[in-house]
Symmetry: C2
Subunit: 205 residues, 2 copies
């Protein structure tokens, strides 16, 4: 798990409903227009708030981006670790973990796109906290793959590249989903879980 605890996350994000609404509105504005050109004024306007209403919650646009990144990456990590049951066979674990990862991104394309493509705009110490959470998500995939290699379920000799491919597939969902061909998040999640088993070199379930 990440070094950040759930309690620390709550402390960073607060429990204010107004702040949560501002984060949600900011995600939409950042995703639609790009973080660089978006303004807190626009975000406030999208909620019918005065420009000054954002300030008590978020002093800068970057602090808003950081809160969104924290909430998003923590959400991904939680989705993945909750889906994983180490008691189950590795193929079932991989299917569940990949399915949850893909579903999270497909059901939240605005926040997914912001937290995956706007990280360059974070301040260094904020970026370091996000990288820490991302490493925990990567480690969760690594652990499932290694369990399958160890018990002979999976036929791969390069776990890091397999993890890279699996997480890359899930992250890129935020760029293209939905498409003309696939628009149901659960359907995509199932199809990508099958592809994950192929990448892991598992016999088909």
């Amino acid at each position: 798990m990440a070094h950040l605890t759930a309690a620390e996350l709550a402390e960073h994000l607060g429990t204010s409903k107004a702040a949560a609404r501002i984060r949600a509105a900011a995600c939409e504005v950042f995703a639609a227009r790009g973080y660089g050109v978006a303004t807190t004024r626009e975000i406030a306007a999208s909620l019918d708030l005065s420009p000054g209403a954002v300030y008590p919650h978020y002093k800068t646009k970057e602090s808003l981006l950081f809160a969104i990144a924290l909430e998003g990456h923590w959400g991904v990590l939680t989705a993945v670790t909750s889906a994983d049951d180490p008691e189950l066979p590795p193929a079932d674990r991989l299917s569940a973990v990949m399915g949850a990862f893909v579903l999270w991104h497909a059901e939240r394309t605005a926040i997914s796109s912001v937290i995956q493509h706007e990280l360059r705009s974070l301040e260094p110490e904020h970026l370091a906290m996000i990288v820490d959470i991302r490493r925990s998500t990567t480690a969760a995939f690594d652990a499932v793959l290694r369990a399958g290699v160890d018990d002979g379920t999976f036929g791969i000799d390069d776990v890091p590249t397999a993890t890279l491919a699996l997480t890359s597939l899930g992250i890129d969902v935020s760029r293209w989903f939905p498409s003309r061909r696939i628009s149901d998040p659960h359907e995509l999640s199932r199809r990508y879980s099958d592809i994950a088993l192929r990448i892991a070199g598992a016999s088909r379930p």
Copy 2:
């Protein structure tokens, strides 16, 4: 192949070396700062040119983005179709096509990132031309996969999803490459070609 011909592409892009230098500089600026906030003034400055020097080549920032998108997506399509030899067995074809696609993106992360993530900023008729070229690239992957399904080499019942996963993996390279773990484009290209064969359900070469 796309409806656009190579001659029409040349007509759009011109043969001016100055324009090519401006496109290359614009890629770097767009990739580093985001298209939305970047200005043609900055792009000119990065080449030690006066702000007015861009205008004779590109009247608007959008026309510059369109030229880059045209050049980039045409480059991807050409890389893929040149790598494919329909006389070869499907597994060799898939390995070559995926390898070329991945290599193109890994060796050109600035233009790759711009042409994959800034398309929302294109005018509708420009976007339509780019979508047309992208469909041809998708069709090239589909054709190789179908050839392998037809002759029994590949074990997949859903060619579009396999093509989606393969192209998504290659496109997302522009987001993360290079990483601490993989920084050689050719090495990545080889590893992802192996993963492509797994996704296609081929027996290992």
